[in-house]
Amino acid sequence: MNQILLWIQEHQQAIYIVILSIFLGIEVIGRVPSVLHTPLMSGANAIHGVVIIGAIIVMGQAEHNNYLALILGFLAVVLGTLNVVGGFVVTDRMLEMFKKKK
């Protein structure tokens, strides 16, 4: 019990961020028309590519002789970049088509 309270105390900022972000995430897309479901999903998909930052940190901290960390970290950076770049480009392509008719 004490541990849990201590943990909450230590991480209160993060906990605030999490709770507020949950509400924000729900609020922000609350009234999306069904036409935009697919592009929105694709855009959100690109945004969670922010996990790449973790991959960069892992990669940047790996020791030079730790090949496991280097290789896995490198793979993580490549995959994370795929997620980010591919995600945004696909979304843009989808939305490009919405714009043309105007």
Partner: protein, 473 residues
């Protein structure tokens, strides 16, 4: 100085993600929103590379980092640019899986980092929250990766539906095992072995595969959206691990928005999430009963010239596009048909079911590509009004979304899904490749109705022939 700049960069990143999501949900600003979020992402990434430091130590291995970024960007851009409009959903699933794998890899490296130091950091045992972040990132990332790969395979037809008796029970057991092992992992920090860690990894992978495998292809959008929010949570657990605000906000935002989006998609199909995830669609008994019922009926075919005649002399034609149109890449031909008919004084509109195709909004994207004007696309409720006054309804490769069983057959697996009530029109022409049932795997009694006639063939080929005939009328 560097660190405060980093803080500002992360702040900008977080704000652009929120703005981006907000704008992505409005048709007019959507594209700008996507670009803004992308810019924020770029700022966060480069700020991390050059400004991030732990205990005064900057990041190293620049060659590796930039190598990875360049390779990822090149492959990502090329595959995203090359992919056909019809395969977009698969692509989203694939990229989502990459994000999940990335989160899992981070967890693996961090685990080895800790285990090589005997789970001690600065002379103290590793904090429980670190262990929680690592194992959460591992489990959720792996489930998301495995699930997305299966979903990707299903959408491009490489993986078939597979369900067997007791599958749900096994899934629940696997889930409980993962949960139990994760608790053990967290509370035995310091003595935990590599074997435990990789056992959890394997189980999570297994669960991801088993979880998606029985779900029908028609429900894949819902599943992808759900896995999308999973990856968001996995990214957020990385945020906890590194105490990184931008990963935290980005991840949780997507986790929350993705969950809501999943619910909205289900709502558009009038199904509950539970129904999608647990009630294997179109399974066993329902198919049999539906086939028995319609087995007795017979359908009639219509010749091209008859179809051309009926449509040329109609006052109002409504086109119902479906996956068949997308597969045949017939959207441009369809637009041509619309123009020719309009030149003959026929009022042509499109009736768009919210989940026609493989993704919500799939048809809108496709028709927009062919320059079909926005105000010709009718949403379901409006279309259902229009059917009453329509002379001809032309169904192009749509099936389940026009199946009357959803309205009048309580035993049907799609019972309760709102459909396009095409029967209200005077004549219904259905273009399909064959009499095979649609993605839900159930028969459609609409095809056996007296006012329905079938025009078999690939949508593009059929439309081209029809176009030629109409020009001759």
């Amino acid at each position: 100085m560097g660190l405060s700049l980093l803080t500002i960069a992360y702040l900008i990143g977080s704000v652009t993600f929120i703005l981006g999501l907000k704008m992505l949900s409005h048709p007019a600003d959507a594209r700008k929103g996507n670009l803004i979020a992308a810019a924020g992402m770029a700022i966060s990434i480069f700020a991390t590379i050059f400004l991030y430091e732990t205990n005064g130590q900057k990041l190293g291995n620049y060659a590796w980092i930039f190598g990875g970024l360049v390779i990822g960007s090149i492959i990502g851009t090329i595959s995203a640019k090359k992919v056909k409009m019809t395969s977009m959903p698969e692509m989203v699933s694939l990229f989502n899986g990459m994000g999940g794998a990335c989160a899992a890899l981070i967890a693996i490296v961090e685990f080895h980092h800790l285990s090589s130091r005997g789970f001690m950091a600065n002379g103290e045992p590793v904090a429980t929250s670190t262990m929680i972040s690592i194992i959460l990132g591992l489990i959720i990332g792996t489930v998301s990766f495995a699930g997305s790969m299966v979903a990707w395979g299903k959408l491009n037809g490489k993986v078939k539906d597979l369900s067997f008796k007791g599958q749900h029970l096994i899934n629940i057991i696997v889930l409980l095992v993962i949960f139990g092992m994760a608790l053990y992992f967290i509370y035995s920090a310091g003595v935990v072995s590599d074997r435990t860690f990789y056992f959890i990894l394997t189980m999570a992978f297994l669960y991801g595969v088993m979880f998606v495998l029985p779900i029908g292809g028609a429900d894949m959008p819902v599943v992808i959206s759900l896995l999308n929010s999973f990856t968001g949570v996995a990214a957020a657990s990385g945020g906890f691990l590194y105490n990184n605000p931008v990963m935290l906000t980005g991840g949780i935002l997507v986790g929350a928005a993705g969950t809501l989006l999943t619910l909205l998609m289900c709502k558009a199909m009038n199904r509950s999430v539970q129904n999608v995830l647990i009630g294997s669609f179109g399974g066993g008994a329902a198919v049999a009963s539906a086939q028995q019922k319609s087995g007795a009926g017979s359908y009639k075919e219509i010749s091209l010239s008859d179809a051309a005649m009926v449509m040329s002399y109609a006052n109002k034609v409504l086109i119902v596009p479906g996956y068949g149109l997308a597969v045949a890449q017939a959207q441009h031909t369809c637009h041509d048909l619309e123009k020719v008919l309009e030149s003959k004084g026929v009022d042509v509109k499109y009736a768009i079911h919210p989940v026609a195709g493989r993704m919500p909004g799939h048809m809108n994207v496709l028709l927009a590509e062919a320059d079909v004007s926005y105000d010709k696309l009718l949403e379901m409720d409006l279309a259902n009004e229009e059917f009453k006054t329509a002379d001809v309804v032309l169904i192009l490769g749509a099936n389940d979304v026009v199946n009357p069983a959803a309205k009048n057959d309580p035993s049907s697996p799609i019972y309760g899904m709102p459909i396009l009530e095409v029967e209200e029109a005077k004549t219904v022409i259905v273009n399909k490749r064959s009499m095979k049932p649609g993605y839900a795997g159930i028969e459609n009694e609409l095809f056996f109705k007296p006012k329905t006639s079938m025009l078999f063939g690939d949508a593009k080929k059929a439309l081209q022939d029809l176009l030629a005939e109409i020009k001759n009328v």
